[in-house]
Symmetry: C2
Subunit: 334 residues, 2 copies
């Protein structure tokens, strides 16, 4: 019984928003796993802003995806054949399987997922990389104290929703910045943020003055650009800015906009620090246990934005850069 | 015996470089000190890049100088009359006496200077605010480790010269960025920096690649602008950027240039933190003792660029922004 694999390879380095012609859609037979290997049928593919960065040439925290290589992506699948004693048929596994329907693995870098009552896509979001990013970025770099004011941009996204909810759990006042009324309603009414700022209809700088009268103690930045600059104008003394991403800048065709107001770091004795979640791999399990506990206690809600159909990948990915997803964007393969 | 005081008041908020018309030069009689007060004859006035910031309206780490007020400046003088038992005629004192020839004080915020064999102007430079800024900015915020690479901009200035020398004392490889051959020669040949980059004649980014093959561990920034952006391209993993000033931007008539390459903080898990020396007042004495010890041991050299003539103040101040001083710029009054 032979399977057919479909995959998206990177065909060209995109300029600005990735186009259809930046991808090659290919079909190939699936080979049988060799000794020590196993075959994974991909069920869900994680779509993340960071993927845009992996498509660019140049030094970064990880090597770029090569032209002609299958696009890198985290994914969740089920083992369907195995010659590896550690992975049995039927196991659910997570790994960087890429944007394809089947993957062969020798187990390196693969983790088993024991979902229990938790839906599988949650392991790509709140209990996956985005959740880990939120957890360690906020708690390790941001170090919020009870009573302090935490502001997060991209607040309705996979990382932002978790950042805000953890900050609430830690006793902070939480303000989220997001685009549009639906997202703003969601983070306040469903997730319990204290306030939301709709950057599409509000003056972010003035809204931050209103909602953060004592200044911002922790600013968790997922977007960069003008919103980062606005946050810099409202820092409290000793503020910590966590640089997690800059989605507003990833599809630029002009140079990245640096934060003009960065001298606010001096005036306010504040810091700005970058983080990469991969540095925390040896603490993922600990964080996962704590977050699963919060979920079970109803303190941490997870939302996934699931789009069905493997072949929609090129368009579905763009939802991230157009701000069309609420919660974790997941491509459902099968 | 009545003295006459001359002073420079801020007449207007400058746009770009301060002009003569931004100042009022005034003459007034000197009054006698009242009960608890003493009279100081100013000998040396400290000219600092930060003064440009104090002339602007708007929130900062210190209130702006008001229009019609004497310009704020640190200065060193001698007590010539006293009705304060703690300050005797003949004492040398340091304080924010302003740009004037005489000052009356009640002693608040004033420190006595026991110069001994050390020339008085050193207490405005290496053993004054610039030295304290270098000491705490480098050691507390930068936290250099032996063998690491430290880069400092404004390297031939009052702060930069001290940053580089302390970094050498701490066993680091030190690269200074300065403008022109004279400054570059000075920091390498006289002060013992490992290398100098002349930003006026070299491509700073390429020169940093050459001189910092393992990347920059600590970047102490006094200048901002393009040089900060170049440094960001060459960070080592976990680098610390100390934001001390941005002299290239202080006389801008356009918005400040933010660092386009700030996402290097993310890629390299690096941090950028602002510092204000006033936060360390309770540790000045400790730092002063250590630095005086290094000076006595010949490990730390101090250089002052002394300009004579009180009335030259408006033009002499501009030397800072034109990059015409080497070491600490001091206005000699009498």
């Amino acid at each position: 019984m032979s399977n057919v694999n479909h995959k998206f390879e990177l065909a060209a380095r995109p300029v600005g928003m990735p186009k259809r012609t930046d991808w090659n859609y290919k079909e190939e037979p699936v080979r049988d796993p060799g000794e020590g290997e196993f075959l994974v049928k991909i069920l869900y593919i994680s779509l993340d802003p960071a993927m845009r960065g992996w498509m660019n040439e140049g030094k970064s925290y990880i090597a770029p995806v090569g032209i002609g290589e299958v696009m890198r992506a985290g994914a969740l699948g089920r083992v369907t054949a195995s010659k590896n004693p550690k992975f049995a048929v039927g196991d659910h596994v997570y790994g960087a399987f890429g944007v394809q329907e089947f993957a062969i693995s020798n187990g390196a870098g693969i983790t088993k997922v024991n979902a229990g009552a938790i839906p599988l896509p949650v392991f790509l979001g709140t209990l996956g990389m985005p959740g880990m990013t939120a957890y360690f970025g906020l708690l390790d770099i941001g170090q919020p104290k009870p009573g302090q004011t935490v502001v997060v941009s991209g607040a309705a996204g996979a990382v932002g929703t978790v950042v805000g909810q953890i900050a609430k759990i830690k006793g902070c006042t939480v303000v989220g910045i997001a685009g549009g009324a639906e997202k703003c309603n969601y983070i306040v009414k469903d997730l319990g943020f204290d306030a939301a700022i709709d950057y599409k209809s509000e003056d972010v700088r003035k809204a931050l003055q209103k909602h953060c009268p004592k200044g911002i103690d922790v600013y968790f930045d997922n977007v960069g650009g003008d919103i980062l600059d606005a946050a810099l104008t409202q820092l409290a003394r000793g503020a910590r800015i966590v640089i997690c991403g800059a989605i507003s800048q990833y599809c630029n065709t002009t140079p990245i906009k640096g934060p003009s107001n960065y001298l606010s770091l001096l005036v306010n004795r504040a810091s700005m620090k970058g983080m990469v979640v991969f540095d925390y791999t040896d603490r993922y399990a600990e964080a996962g246990r704590e977050m699963a506990g919060w979920m079970a206690a109803g303190k941490l809600k997870s939302r996934e934005h699931i789009v069905e159909g493997f072949e929609t990948f090129p368009d579905t990915l763009l939802k991230l850069f157009k701000g069309e997803n609420i919660g974790k964007l997941v491509l459902k393969v099968a």
